[in-house]
Point group: C2
Chain length 154, copies 2
């Protein structure tokens, strides 16, 4: 028996669907315009910049960016062409590879971060009250708890 | 002067980023598995099913699905191949085109809707309290008010 959405739930669902899509599209377009990269590339550079020695195993980087291995490989290949990332063999695992943020990549990330953070603030945080920011975090964490625990199903 | 995110905002932002991505990925994968279509196609069929005579101008359909004209044209071309949608010339506008939901498309949508709505309920509404559902709607509407009003900037 399908548990259909009532009118209230339907409106909530559509508002959430369109708001989050409009937010991603806007941030992605701004990053592309100002820094020449989509948000997925930006996120890879951020994760590498935070890792010790600015390097991560490809498998850990895929996990950190919620990306499939094939999608990540494709993105890292492009970032290598730009000179922002390079790949190295993993010293502790013969079949593993590391992605390393280059100095050029770090500088590009630093330059991109200003505009992107300003965008996140303008399009998200500036629109919400402090209570709503706290609510959004709790809502997001409740969703993540459930979705992460269901990963083994796929 | 860049208004960097503080630690609290950073955590909120990352939780929201990952929760919404995990939700879309999960729902998209379920629709693909159970109904053989991505969420973008499902949404096109829904919008057509709700329109009078189950038909919409392509420009209105692009607007309703927050899609670019080129992305929508590509999707509708695929849906035509499946026999779920057909295109017709617009009687009131010589340069316009209508997308029309076929009977086959309507049946496919009906069959897909059960599983998809159950997925939305399982992965979103079942994880939230009634208060959080109301909060999520207000947060989404605040974001939409801002983002929609900024559309002319692009």
């Amino acid at each position: 028996m399908t548990r259909w959405l009532n009118e209230e739930e339907q409106r909530t669902w559509r508002a959430f669907l369109h708001a989050s899509r409009a937010l991603w599209d806007t941030l992605d377009r701004e990053l592309q315009r100002d820094a020449g990269m989509p948000h997925a590339y930006y996120e890879i550079l951020v994760r590498l910049s935070e890792a010790s020695d600015r390097r991560l195993r490809m498998s850990d980087l895929a996990e950190a960016t919620s990306s499939s291995r094939s999608r990540l490989s494709h993105a890292v290949a492009r970032l290598e062409e730009y000179g922002w990332v390079r790949r190295e063999d993993c010293p502790t695992d013969r079949r593993g590879q590391l992605a390393v943020l280059t100095d050029a990549g770090f500088r590009v990330l630093e330059a991109a971060a200003h505009g992107h953070v300003e965008g996140v603030r303008t399009h998200l945080f500036d629109q919400l009250t402090p209570e709503q920011v706290a609510q959004l975090r709790e809502i997001s964490e409740a969703m993540l708890d459930h979705l992460d625990s269901g990963r083994h199903l796929y």
